[in-house]
Amino acid sequence: MTKIALHIDHIVKVYPHRHHPVTALKEVSFDIHDNEFFTLLGPSGCGKTTLLRIIAGFEEITAGQVRLYGDDISTLAPHQRPVNTVFQQYALFPHLTVADNVAFGLKRLGQSADEVKARTAAMLDLIQMTEYGQRKPHELSGGQQQRVALARALAPAPKVLLLDEPLSALDLKLRQAMREELKAIQKQTGITFVFVTHDQEEALAMSDRIAVMSNGEVQQIGSPQDIYNNPRNHFVANFIGEANILDVTAEPMRGGKCRVKLANGTAIPLEIDHAIDAAKPLSIMIRPEHLSIKPVGKKPPKSALIGTVQDLSYLGTDTQLHVRVDDRISLLARVQNDTSVEGALKPGQSVQIDMNLNAIRMLDH
């Protein structure tokens, strides 16, 4: 059994406001495992920071409970919780040197001068900034400040480390380098990370598991592969990567299979294990890379989906194209640029679209 580091139990958060209180979290519940790189992913305003601040103790809970390795910490003050935060704005103490910043938490925990010194040196070594110990924060670059903030929060060896969009102030190159460094440091220290981001690429690249949030609710929790390949609903499918979502009608067939029909009548044989309520509106999702596109041959099969290339955009390794089938169906496809097909495609051309049936997913709603 994996140990549970944090148990988020039916948490509700309402920001009181005289005229219109804001409900930032609506009964959120999930577990974060020990030694896990866990990411809260969602669009702006979905409640990620609120949840993180509740875990850190900066925000009171309206209802629910936070358990840290089994103990209810909901009523503890921030300085009583063995949890540290890397703030989005870093929040390094401007009047203290880098070394004193890193040592701050250690001293408050009452460690001896020797212990503090050794641990501070070890942390500066971890972030490869040993020579910078005597500098003030304003004498560092953004990336360096970021690393010091990380070292400062890691130094007291918290049970859980909270990171609120720590990479968002960095430029692209540095952000990508820091992704790998963060991930490596997490593995090396074995500390549970709770990472907040609205960047799905960042979430997919770094996380062991992701909780996708929207509107104060968790939409889906799973591994990056799971979330990308098997999105549960429209929101997740659209938010993570790109998706073609098509309305369909279903008709059951023998042997647990069912056939779905696109709006233009094209039938797609799908293997679906759960019973389908054909009366409900249904939709299917397919990723752009799971469509294969080729110029229409001499005799296209009757069941084939035929469309017109609207536009092409060159993306380096891939070419992305919009293909219009009819008024109701328009598809986004992606073709690898090492195939012979890509050179032959032009706007206005008629193409045949084949779907990889294994990659089609039914969406809940």
Binding site: P78, N84, Y90, R108, P137, H138
Partner: protein
């Protein structure tokens, strides 16, 4: 500091354009020069004539430190010395006490939770800046008489503490407003109790504002005449009231020397205050 994206070059260009435009408004340069002239010409004349060798306050008789010698060793030297010591004692104590009170007030107003009557309190703290000083002076005098408080150094000190508070409050609360509460949160997050967070983080960050507030209160107290003149007892003098007393018997160049000395002290203190607040901002 948080890594806010700054673009000094852009800001610089905008600023340059704005100044250029102002320069083109007809008459602006002339009005500015006239203002500066009216403000500073008398001061400069006082400074120059304090070094005058002649008795006259209008005719230049050559350079001399004669009047400065008079200030320290002349017939009135003892009177001015007592007055200066009184002024310094009162200014230091009034500045210390009003700075402590202003710091507490700023913490409650800026960091404290919203409370009923918060804007009223803000108004009350700053009201003395708006009330004509003569009104405060008369009111304070009446107050002291009614409660039967002996007039002397202590009554001057109490009055000074009160009117120095808003002057100390302004730079302190401005500084405090500029300190993001994220630092205190980071402190709490790193196991500092609320007391430690104040002592180790918020207070050190506030120091430039507190020093500015202290210096401003000090100068305001050192320089006050109207209220002091009302609440001082007979025979008790501060430097401004002593100078006023001397001037009533005719302006002598030694007054110019004293004024020049006071001006120098003020300029030095204001410069220090400015440097401190700039240092604070750079951090």
């Amino acid at each position: 500091m948080p890594a806010t994206k700054r673009n000094p070059r852009h800001g610089g260009i905008e600023m340059a354009r704005a100044t250029e435009k102002v320069k083109w408004y007809p008459g602006f340069r002339e009005i500015t020069l006239a203002c500066f002239f009216i403000l500073y010409a008398p001061l400069i004349i006082v400074m120059i004539y304090s070094f005058n060798a002649s008795q006259s306050i209008t005719i230049w008789g050559g350079f001399s430190l004669h009047w400065y010698e008079k200030v320290f060793y002349g017939v009135e030297a003892a009177k001015f010395k007592t007055a200066t010591v009184n002024s310094l004692i009162i200014a230091v104590m009034a500045a210390i006490v009003s700075t402590v009170i202003a710091t507490a007030a700023a913490l409650a107003m800026v960091r404290g939770k919203a409370f009923k009557g918060k804007s009223l309190t803000f108004g009350l703290i700053n009201l003395p800046l708006m009330v004509p000083e003569i009104v405060t002076a008369v009111a304070t005098l009446i107050f002291f008489s009614v409660i039967g408080f002996d007039r002397g150094l202590l009554s001057i000190l109490l009055a000074h503490i009160v009117f120095c508070i808003p002057f100390a409050y302004l730079p302190i609360s401005a500084r405090l407003q500029g300190i993001s509460s994220i630092y205190e949160q980071a402190g709490r997050d790193l196991y500092a109790t609320p007391g430690q967070t104040f002592r180790l983080i918020l207070f050190p960050l506030m120091v430039p504002g507190i020093l500015s507030g202290f210096l401003l209160a000090f100068i305001i107290s050192l320089d006050d005449f109207i209220i002091t003149n009302f609440v001082k007892g007979a025979g008790v003098e501060t430097l401004p009231t002593a100078i006023f007393g001397a001037v009533k018997q005719g302006i002598k160049p030694n007054i110019m020397a004293i004024s020049t000395l006071m001006l120098t002290v003020s300029i030095v203190l204001v410069s220090i205050s400015y440097l401190i607040s700039r240092m604070g901002r750079q951090e």
